[in-house]
């Protein structure tokens, strides 16, 4: 299989800009450091050639950016989507958050993205370059030292339990189609379920008390796309529940998990961007696991227009009392 490179993507983008299919390109832009990749909108060939990047740090899921971007102009916008991004894309379409006609989606393969936090923990600070190799990466630092790290040790948490290499939606696919993976993503949830109530409370207390309420998890989350977030709305009566004392601070994450329940595609962006390293995705995964066991397997975003179990009703739905009885 031919590897999809930065040049392939730039050529594709230029081709689509030139033939007028799209007027803007949503892509990754090189930052100050090699690992410091930012989402950006490109409109010219020159900008693309200068700043467009595609490497192991292109973590960002662009689906949510499309809401704002599609409102800016009538012409289509080109977006590159990794397999897991396509689930968020579909979920947003299901929720009518942007118009499908205004997007040209190109599916690109993904072998897993890297976690700079893990790299720094293993290789130290002062990193100036990360060079990918076969099954490992070479890290260069300011002091002209080199360190080789195994790929598996530096993959992001979400990529380690990747649920799918299959694109569920695209206009065009670059590279080969992958498969849905039978991942072990609920193992961690089961571990927490096995704790006693006190242990579990202590676990989450220690995690959530790290929160600095920077709102990064909410701002990145492709399910958190409300025009006005309930936490920013003094009339919602929810915002003041999450600010008045340290316990209520924790409620922010619990309330947020409830808000995205049934809509979360498990993309893992929340945990990826958390500066405090709180495993927020585990809260969402617990909901996904419970929904699966109560109502049958459901993957948000797998199919555009699907009715999530929580906003659907069938005659054989379990009674609320049964759910309480089975809850852990």
């Amino acid at each position: 299989m031919q590897k999809i490179t930065r040049e392939n993507l730039i050529n594709k983008a230029i081709e689509l800009l030139d033939n007028g299919t799209v007027s803007r390109v949503l892509g990754w832009k090189i930052g100050e450091f090699a690992y410091d990749v930012t989402p950006a909108v490109f409109t010219t060939k020159e900008d693309l050639q200068k700043d467009f990047i595609f490497d192991d740090f292109c973590n960002a899921n662009f689906s949510k950016y499309l809401i704002a971007e599609t409102r800016k102009a009538e012409e289509k916008v080109l977006v590159f989507l990794k397999p897991c991004d396509t689930y968020s894309f579909n979920q947003l379409l299901t929720e009518h958050r942007f118009s499908r006609e205004k997007v040209y989606a190109v599916g690109i393969p993904c072998e897993g993205m890297l976690d700079i936090g893990k790299i720094k923990a293993l290789a130290g600070e002062g990193i100036i370059d990360v060079i990918p190799g076969e099954g490992s990466i070479t890290v260069k630092n300011l002091y002209e030292e080199e360190k080789t790290l195994a790929y598996g040790d530096v993959l992001t948490e979400r990529c380690l339990s990747c649920k799918s290499k299959k694109h569920v939606v695209y206009d065009e696919l670059m590279g080969e189609e992958g498969d849905v993976i039978d991942s072990n993503r609920f193992d961690e949830v089961e571990k927490i379920e096995k704790m006693s109530a006190d242990e579990r409370f202590a676990f989450w207390q220690s995690q959530l008390s790290k929160c600095i309420r920077c709102n990064a998890c909410r701002d990145i989350c492709p399910a958190c796309t409300c025009e006005k977030c309930v936490f920013d709305n003094p009339k919602s009566s929810v915002n003041n529940k999450a600010i008045s004392d340290s316990f209520e601070e924790k409620m922010f994450h619990i309330i947020r998990a409830f808000h995205v329940a049934g809509r979360c595609t498990d993309c893992g962006e929340c945990s990826r961007v958390c500066p405090q390293g709180i495993p927020l995705h585990l809260l969402n995964r617990k909901f996904i696991k419970d929904i699966n066991s109560f109502y049958g397997d459901y993957q948000a975003g797998q199919e555009e227009g699907s009715r999530a179990p929580l906003i659907n009703y069938t005659f054989d739905d379990l009674e609320p009392g049964e759910a309480v009885g089975r809850g852990v």
Partner: protein, 664 residues
């Protein structure tokens, strides 16, 4: 700031017995917004209402909290009172300190404390209340009756008589229900068919009634006055408007081995059949499970013999959509399955039968042409044992039986015993009972006749075991009055199986959003004062779907339900509930979660232009609620991720204020 008056009711000693009402009034006086607080023996009385009216005027109240019984009892009363004094009725809140407080607490201190908390929550809510003005909705002047037994028939006839169109949906090929299977009726011993079939004919001939037989209700949307119902008319492979009911096909059909459900499987019918001679509509039905033509494509005999050309093997299920103003549930009952009652050997011997099977065995149109013969060998039984309460009043056997009394068994067993002795005086008849319950006009006299005139052996005690031995049934039982064990060699054992609601009732209740009890009987709005209405507006209850009943009771309830329906359909407009949902367009994401959960289909979407930052505009999809269709259930408000949906009179802020007040 509101000016709130608090009125604490004693309800005689109902509340004052366990709640210190004076302390409650005193405590609530210092709540934010409260300017007046008092207590009185009966707030709902004329004098009590005057206190409220005067206080509204004297203290210029803008809100009222009444601490009293459940809002289901007197919310309407107090709203009217406030309105009479010039206040918007929706500025009244009820704190339920009776059902939810005084009645469930024994200790004065706890009761008082809880009453204060409940009152505090109501005050917190009223502080955020806003005046609401109800609208009006039109009424579709047509009724739907689900079930075509005697209950459905009577309800439909009464509604039609008043001049309103009625549709009956019956899942079987004919109306008539259980009563059509019964031989004689207690206590007068009229022949059931003789009194039922004229009514069936009346239904067929009434211009205001349409019968959808062999049909099922598939979907119900809408609300009181405006139900939208989808009815599935199952393919019967016979054109109803062409078939003359001559019955030639039912005689010529070569498939003769189909268990005849009308005779409870005690004989066979053909694959094309008319359930019984007086069926309405008198139209044949092809049973797709047995018809050779439909299964293999070979046969077609019925089509050949049908002179009318009514047979149509290509017929498909049809969906009929219709609007109704009111819906009556008349889904009826069935005897319970006796599979789990091994002690009575029902599954081991053909000569152990249920009472309904006994009805068919003694019916002139039944499998034995009315001669009482044993199903096993066709011989006349000389000793018959009737067992009462099989699965009824069975608290200890809840896994297989029912806790309740099925109500009709004592009387029909007396009838069976009496008729057997009358027709076959050489037969010994035993009846085993726990109690004989005969409340009803001429009922006890009837039972006494069975014992005294006809010499039926009534034995207080239960049958422990029935074991088939040769062609006999050995019945082992206890006689509690004589305190001894009995062993009876019987030829036939008849089990008075408990009755339960028809299995279809649960799914129908779900479609109607009508509530049911733990036994799947429909719940009435009030057990004494609104016994034929479901708590769901526009849904009425007729017959045994609401609880065990005999025929006279069923017919009276059916007529009562009809009277309620007529009262509703006679109105041109209904006052709508102003407590409906509304979307804040600025916050709405257009995600459709609310529309997905709305049981009434009240939410639609519009594309609207909005001002966005930096002097831009954007077209956004936003929810719009049709207030005439919304029933204020509030499902949308919890499904909405952004909090854009809110419910008038039950705004999230109000609910949270109540919770905060309780947790304070």
């Amino acid at each position: 700031m509101q000016r709130i008056g608090v009125f604490v009711c004693w309800c005689g000693s109902n509340i004052a017995g366990t709640v210190d009402v004076k302390a409650v009034a005193e405590a609530l006086r210092s709540e934010p917004g409260v300017v007046f607080s008092t207590d009185y023996q009966y707030m709902c009385s004329q004098a009590g209402q005057e206190i409220i009216k005067e206080a509204i005027k004297e203290h210029k109240l803008t809100g009222v909290v009444v601490c009293s019984c459940s809002p289901r009892m007197h919310e309407a009363t107090f709203r009217k009172t406030a309105q009479a004094a010039g206040l918007n009725p929706y500025m009244v809140e009820i704190a339920n300190i009776r059902e939810q407080c005084s009645w469930i607490h024994k200790d004065m201190e706890t009761g008082t404390q809880k009453a204060i908390i409940l009152g505090r929550a109501a005050v917190a809510k009223v502080n955020l209340n806003a005046p609401l003005i109800p609208g009006q909705t039109p009424v579709t002047k047509r009724a739907l009756v689900i079930g075509g037994g005697i209950a459905g028939i009577q309800t439909a006839l009464d509604i039609a008589e008043a001049g309103f169109p009625v549709d009956i949906v019956e899942k079987k090929p004919t109306i008539g229900g259980k009563m059509a299977q019964i031989d004689k009726t207690f206590p007068t011993l009229d022949c059931a068919a003789c009194i039922l079939t004229p009514k069936m004919v009346d239904v067929a001939q009434n211009e205001n009634i349409r019968i959808f037989s062999y049909s099922e209700v598939q979907e119900v949307k809408g609300f009181v006055g405006n139900f939208n119902v989808k009815i599935k008319k199952k393919a019967r492979f016979v054109k109803e408007d062409v078939c003359t009911g001559c019955g030639i096909c039912t005689e010529k059909c070569p498939q003769k081995k189909v268990p005849n459900e009308f005779n409870l499987g005690m004989d066979n019918r053909r694959a094309v059949y008319i359930p019984f001679a007086q069926a309405v509509p008198k139209v044949a039905t092809i049973d797709a499970d047995y018809c050779t033509m439909l299964k293999t494509g070979k046969c077609g005999l019925c089509a050949k013999v049908c002179t009318a050309g009514a047979i149509d093997y290509t017929q498909k299920d049809e969906i009929i959509e219709e609007q109704y103003g009111a819906i009556v549930a008349a889904t009826g009952f069935n005897p319970i399955s006796l599979d789990k009652f091994d002690e009575y050997a029902y599954n081991q011997s053909k000569d152990v039968i249920t009472s309904l099977e006994f009805e068919r065995l003694t019916n002139a149109a039944g499998p034995t042409a009315g001669k009482l013969l044993r199903p096993s060998d066709g011989k006349h039984p000389h000793t018959i044992v009737f067992v009462q309460c099989v699965g009824s009043r069975c608290a200890a056997c809840a896994d297989k039986g029912k806790e309740y009394c099925s109500k009709i068994c004592c009387m029909y067993t007396a009838k069976h015993a009496m008729l057997t002795r009358d027709k076959y005086p050489d037969t010994d008849v035993y009846v085993f009972y726990i109690d004989v319950r005969t409340p009803g006009k001429n009922f006890d006299e009837f039972y006494r006749r069975a014992v005294e005139e006809y010499g039926v052996h009534y034995i207080k005690g239960m049958v422990g075991k029935v074991s088939p031995q040769g062609d006999k049934l050995m019945v082992q039982a206890s006689d509690l009055l004589a305190n001894k064990q009995l062993h009876i060699e019987a030829d036939l054992v008849v089990l008075a199986a408990a009755i339960e609601p028809d299995k279809s009732a649960r799914s129908i209740a779900t479609m109607l959003t009508a509530s049911m009890d733990t036994n799947d009987f429909f719940t009435e709005a009030h057990p004494k004062l609104r016994p034929v209405e479901s708590p769901t507006a526009g849904v009425f209850l007729s017959g045994t779907c609401q609880g065990p009943k005999d025929i006279p009771e069923t017919v009276s309830q059916a007529s009562a339900a009809a009277a309620k329906v007529i009262g509703l359909l006679a109105k041109d407009k209904l006052t709508s509930n102003p407590c409906v949902a509304h979307a804040d367009e600025l916050m709405c994401n257009g995600c459709s979660s609310c529309a997905n959960v709305c049981p009434y289909g009240a939410i639609s979407y519009i594309d609207k232009e909005f001002r966005m930052p930096n002097r831009t505009t954007a077209i956004r999809r936003v929810a719009s609620v049709n207030p005439a269709v919304c029933q204020g259930c509030g499902a949308c408000t919890v499904a909405c991720p952004s909090g854009a949906m809110d419910l008038n009179g039950f705004e999230s802020a109000q609910i949270i204020a109540e919770v905060d007040a309780i947790c304070r």
